[in-house]
């Protein structure tokens, strides 16, 4: 695993995310920057061909589009059309995009769909895995816990959920709105194998996700993250959930990301 390559990849993806959000004057910048390292770990190190991925926190679609473009599934220049009139690159994933199996954007759906996929793989006796990335605010949806009970009942140990635990939702701190803690204990009590990880340490993410074995339990990795990671004035500020970038802020963000890139060498 070439960590330096992955970290550089992650920063360049953030730069493109910031650019398309600046150009379209809309997007979910906080969540996209928060999840970027997790997506890089998944798409460039962890997932094998025929593994499945669902972005259940569909609003953080920008980083996902950039990765799909980097993988050649979307023409790179099409990213310029993000959220433009008539574009297929809209603000939430849809099945019109190659590589995307299901539409998401209404929260609390992805884990159920992932259960269905994982079950089909089990019935077919295939050893591929299904990965699903959820937001932490999303866990307030009751349907997530319906799926959580189902997954452990059916011993879906080919199912790996990841929570982007940046602790912020639109209205503020998750714990001040509806408490999610003790989050790890809650998942464990639903019969899941739970691990926690630093959601911005790509090596740790890869090692954690790869450590999940076929042990009769569904797996969840709670990724401690910072909303808006990589751009200091966006970081940890819930007002940036879907904040707009003006010219000045865009330049500031790009300069900061460039400095991160230079620092790696």
């Amino acid at each position: 695993m070439d960590i330096k390559y992955l970290v550089r990849k992650s920063i360049s993806i953030r730069m493109k995310v910031v650019e398309i959000i600046y150009k379209s004057r809309m997007g979910h910048i906080g969540g996209s920057l928060s999840e970027t390292d997790i997506l890089v770990a998944l798409f460039y190190a962890v997932m094998k061909p025929d593994d499945k991925f669902i972005l259940s926190k569909g609003h953080s679609v920008e980083a996902y589009y950039v990765i799909l473009a980097d993988k050649g599934l979307i023409p790179w220049e099409e990213l310029e059309k993000y959220c433009h009139f008539g574009s297929r690159l809209i603000g939430h994933p849809s099945v019109d995009i190659p590589g995307i199996d299901v539409a998401t954007g209404s929260l609390g759906h992805g884990l159920s769909i992932a259960c269905g996929m994982a079950l089909a793989l089990k019935l077919d006796k295939k050893d591929n895995k299904v990965y699903v990335l959820m937001g932490d605010g999303e866990l307030q949806e009751g349907s997530v816990w319906e799926a959580a009970m189902f997954a452990s009942t059916h011993k879906l140990d080919n199912l790996v959920a990841i929570v982007d635990r940046n602790r912020l939702q639109i209205g503020g701190d998750t714990e001040s709105i509806v408490k999610l803690e003790p989050l790890a204990d809650r998942w464990a009590s639903f019969g899941w194998e739970v691990k926690e990880m630093n959601g911005h340490d790509i090596e740790e993410i890869v090692n954690t996700l790869n450590s999940f074995t076929f042990n009769s339990k569904p797996h969840i990795a709670i990724a401690r993250t910072i909303k808006g990671k990589g751009v200091s004035f966006i970081e940890n500020n819930y007002r940036w959930h879907h904040g707009e970038l003006d010219e000045e802020k865009y330049q500031k963000a790009v300069e900061e990301l460039k400095r991160h890139l230079e620092a790696i060498g």
Binding site: V95, V102, T104, I113, S143
Partner: protein
């Protein structure tokens, strides 16, 4: 011998037969295996049966996931819950995600009459009709329900089927027909067109006999099991022929088959119409027959409404 059989039983029996040879068929339910008459899968085809428990939203999501992996999921649950509790999953995971999921609503309409409004599904067609790409089918008897099961296994795309709980008399005998999107002309006539759907078709046939006997009115009777896509060709032709259309349905006046037909005809061949249905209200409690009678959906009352309608809209 023409025994009265519930459509849901006939449908599930046929699906079970087909599933023995087609391992991609998988049935899901939400703690309704007996109501849906699919418990036989749990005994004999356990790998093609999933009881998700009382979790309707989860059931639809799982079905969508299974379909994306090449399975043909049929999700069975009471129509009242299927058409309301999990509608966001139907919208996003099934319709918008273009998942090949069959949604089978059992004990629909006012089948659970005495149980109250929580258990009635009288606006389900209205809800399902608003989704682009959704097919909606209400079989009128057990024989047709079997044929629907057969067709759906071969059909790719989302479909909502609504069937009632109780046994229903046969509408079809040697003349059994069902094609998605096609209505069937059951009785020829040129004074008025009476269109039935689901369990009302039988009552329409009986009403037609009364109209002939008591009033010498030649009613043509049509069974229209598919609400969407609507059989526009047939509607156009029959509206031109008889000039007067009566729709009888076990659904709220809002948004059902009557509405669908009115939307089409009013814009293409405006034709006087009468919609005999349930009101835009909480239906009264009672057995199916009692409730049908109360709202004027039994043969005698349908025929009287038709006579009144024809007197108001003369050719």
């Amino acid at each position: 011998m023409n025994p009265h059989i519930p459509c849901r039983k006939a449908f599930s029996e046929k699906l079970f037969e087909l599933a023995k040879d087609d391992k991609s068929i998988i049935v899901l339910t939400t703690d309704a295996r007996f109501s849906a008459a699919i418990d036989v899968f749990s005994y004999h085809l356990p790998n093609q049966f999933i009881d998700v428990g009382i979790a309707e939203q989860n059931a639809i999501g799982i079905a969508a996931g299974l379909s994306k992996m090449g399975r043909k999921p049929f999700v069975f649950m009471p129509a009242c819950f299927l058409s309301a509790r999990c509608i966001d999953q139907i919208k996003v995971d099934v319709i918008y995600s273009k998942s090949n999921v069959k949604l089978i609503g059992v004990s629909g309409g006012i089948s659970y009459g005495p149980l109250g409004y929580t258990h009635h599904a009288v606006n389900d067609v209205a809800i399902m009709r608003t989704f682009p790409g959704m097919t909606i089918i209400l079989p009128s008897d057990a024989n047709q329900a079997k044929l629907v099961a057969e067709k759906l296994v071969e059909h790719t795309g989302p479909v909502y089927v609504r069937m009632g709980r109780g046994p229903v008399p046969p509408v079809y005998h040697e003349n059994l027909r069902f094609e998605i999107g096609k209505a069937n002309l059951l009785t020829e006539g040129d004074d008025v067109t009476i269109i039935g759907i689901g369990e009302t078709t039988y009552y329409c046939l009986e009403a037609g006999k009364l109209l002939k006997k008591n009033s010498n009115i030649n009613a043509e009777i049509i069974d229209m099991p598919t609400v969407k896509p609507l059989d526009e060709d047939l509607l156009f032709k029959e509206a031109k022929k008889t000039g007067r259309i009566v729709v009888v349905e076990e659904h709220s006046i809002c948004g059902g088959l009557g509405s669908a037909i009115a939307e089409f005809l009013s814009q293409n061949f405006p034709t006087p119409m009468k919609i005999l249905s349930l009101p835009d209200d909480f239906p009264i409690a009672g057995s199916s027959l009692q409730v049908f009678d109360y709202y004027g959906l039994t043969p005698e009352k349908i025929s009287r409404s038709v006579v009144d309608f024809l007197s108001r809209f003369r050719k």
